[in-house]
């Protein structure tokens, strides 16, 4: 080694030493935590018997709570009405809505919740009459049976992809009417019983025929979380459904099987074949990985009036930001008529309380096919570029 090389080596070693020294100077995030042995003091058995248990306090800590919300959305889009030979079209619009809710919990076993909302009608520029979104009473009997009575919303089924139908939501109409729901713990989770009616169900017949009846039993069998669901409406359908979800490594796998039988004797003579619908699902969701995936596949044996054979894929990129916006990609496809939709979107906050969405949607398939008939923000366009700004405020 010549003299120059030695000096270089020496300099590098000095620099390396300085770097090491510099690292030692960094603040130790755990400094002082283990300087002395902490006696892990036993809790005295005499916990204050008058102290309200945490599980009760969580319910009653705010005996009454009133909240309001205002939302304004404005957007514009431009696109083509046909893939070939189409015209350039543009559209824009806005939506303003406001709502208020009251949540009263005078006792730990009793609760009232009501929520109203109104929207600005774009054509008349008047706010519509306030609609009741939810209005229900909760009653808990002996910390065992939980009742919810009134207008409430409920979602069943494992389907998650926003662009696909939700064949598992047997109780999707419950929010259109009034209902009584009971939940009791059973197995590892619980049993739900539901009776409800909507304006559409009401008829001249006896009362019991105006009601829909539904029930579920959800529990775990080893690593599999399962659910058994049933729904019955007089002169309509008897539906049964089984769901199963299991974590497998980093994936969550789901399977849902639904069957419907006509419950009317008259209808049974014409339509004796039961209808089967299957949904399978794969979810890969981790917050700190480059891409998250949602994949769903739906098969339906009755395809004449319904989408029967569909797939949906959703990709989000949790660690990626483009101009501060989160990108996402959605693809849905109907195998029966070869129609589908692809949406590339970017979403995120722009300034305080205002978020922006930039979307590039495209629909393919012949006129009259499933996705061409779906109501979308694209209107009569098949491909476009849209921008939406949303302002939300709660108080």
């Amino acid at each position: 080694m010549n003299r120059g090389s030695r000096w270089l080596m020496y300099s590098l070693l000095c620099l390396f030493g300085l770097a090491l020294f510099g690292q030692e100077e960094q603040e130790d995030p755990f400094a002082g935590l283990f300087d002395e042995v902490v006696s892990d003091t036993p809790v005295e058995e005499a916990e204050d018997p008058l102290e309200v248990p945490l599980y009760t306090e969580l319910i009653t800590q705010d005996p009454i709570r009133v909240e309001g919300r205002v939302s304004f959305e404005g957007g514009a889009g431009v696109g083509l009405t046909q893939w070939t030979g189409g015209e350039l079209d543009a559209q824009g619009g806005f939506l303003m809505s406001a709502g208020a809710s009251v949540d009263a919990r005078p006792f730990d076993y009793l609760r009232f919740f009501g929520s109203l909302s109104t929207e600005l009608d774009q054509s008349s520029l008047r706010f519509t009459n306030p609609a009741i979104d939810e209005l229900f009473l909760d009653y808990t009997l002996q910390e065992w049976a939980f009742f919810r009575v009134g207008k409430q919303s409920l979602t069943w089924g494992i389907g998650l992809h926003p662009g696909l139908p939700k064949p598992g939501n047997l109780v999707g109409r419950v929010q259109d009417g009034a209902s009584v729901r009971l939940f009791v713990p059973a197995g590892t989770n619980g049993i739900t019983g539901l009776v409800y009616s909507t304006e559409d169900f009401l008829g001249p017949g006896p009362l019991y025929s105006d009601l829909a009846y539904a029930g579920s039993f959800e529990t775990n069998v080893g690593p599999i979380s399962t659910g058994f669901f049933a729904h019955y409406l007089w002169d309509d359908l008897l539906s049964g459904m089984v769901t199963a979800k299991i974590p497998l490594g980093p994936l969550d796998l789901g399977l849902q099987f639904r069957s419907d039988w006509e419950s009317s004797q008259v209808a049974l003579a014409h339509f004796a074949e039961p209808r089967f619908r299957v949904l399978s699902q794969v979810v890969y969701y981790q917050p700190q990985v480059p891409v998250n995936v949602l994949a769903e596949y739906i098969f339906d044996t009755q395809t004449s009036d319904n989408p029967g054979h569909m797939v949906g894929l959703g990709l989000t990129f949790p660690t990626l930001r483009i101009l501060g916006l989160r990108p996402g990609l959605s693809w849905t496809h109907e195998f029966g008529d070869h129609s589908g939709q692809v949406i590339l979107g970017f979403e995120g906050p722009l300034v305080p309380s205002i978020s922006g969405t930039l979307a590039l949607p495209a629909i393919y398939g012949d006129q009259g096919t499933y996705f061409r008939n779906q109501s979308t923000d694209l209107g009569n366009m098949v491909v476009g570029l849209g921008l939406k700004l949303t302002l939300n405020m709660t108080f």
């Binding site: 935590l33 065992w144 939980f146 979380s225 979800k245």
Partner: protein
């Protein structure tokens, strides 16, 4: 020669059994057995250059049925969101959509460096085997340092190092990726004793991968009073949510 092989096999099996027994004993220190647990967790997260954020959550545990429930209390925007773990499945409840979704239990808790598994008892004996063991002085604690390797893919981290004090309580952990990269370091300076069981009541987590973000968890109102069955169900999340 055959008898030598048998003795060697017997010895290896015995060492392996003893090692797994050690992990079982460590697990049993934080297993509440037939007792329920409830507590109020405060989570303070320091992100370099981004300031500090905090959240509060109520936690209920029932180890004998492998269940826990976490209900977010603060910040206000997340109030009423809940996690219900039953066995291996974890349900998330979103009060705005009144919907439950299932996910695997390795998720980060509310985008913090804490994981839902940090609120639950450990199951090291089920999930890991001991690769090596040394001793080390950790501040005032004389500890055994165990290097663990995962025996299944369900765990959050494929490799871990744990510092165990003389009471068989874990005082520090280092979580590694499969490639050996340090991902997270956790210090547990304080436990609360309930009979023969212990619950961590102070944790400090350093997320190396996220640029040394520091998360501190502390527990108040720790109790082992019985909790009704209804609390460990979807019904309770619906009942408490706003």
């Amino acid at each position: 020669m055959r008898s030598f092989a048998f003795v060697l096999f017997f010895f290896v099996s015995l060492v392996s059994l003893t090692a797994q027994n050690l992990l079982s004993q460590i697990d049993s220190r934080v297993d509440l057995g037939n007792q329920d647990f409830s507590g109020e967790y405060t989570i303070v997260q320091e992100r370099p250059g981004q300031g500090t954020s905090s959240m509060k959550a109520a936690v209920f545990r029932r180890d004998r049925e492998d269940k826990f429930l976490i209900l977010l209390m603060e910040p206000t925007v997340d109030r009423g969101k809940g996690y219900l773990k039953i066995g291996d499945s974890l349900l998330l409840y979103d009060p705005s959509s009144r919907r439950f979704t299932t996910t695997s239990a390795r998720d980060r808790f509310q985008n913090s460096n804490a994981r839902t598994s940090d609120f639950f008892r450990t199951s090291l004996a089920d999930d890991y085997s001991i690769e090596s063991e040394t001793t080390e002085q950790l501040g005032a604690y004389r500890t055994r340092v165990l290097t663990l390797v995962a025996t299944n893919t369900q765990v959050s981290f494929p490799r871990m190092k744990i510092w165990v004090d003389e009471n068989l309580l874990i005082r520090k952990t280092e979580d590694y990726s499969l490639s050996g990269q340090l991902l997270r370091t956790t210090a547990i300076p304080r436990y609360q004793q309930f009979g023969s069981s212990y619950v961590p009541t102070q944790l400090v987590i350093l997320d190396v991968l996220a640029g040394n973000e520091r998360t501190a968890l502390s527990v108040a109102r720790a109790s082992v009073s019985p909790v009704p069955d209804l609390v460990f169900t979807q019904g309770y999340l619906e009942r408490t949510s706003r």
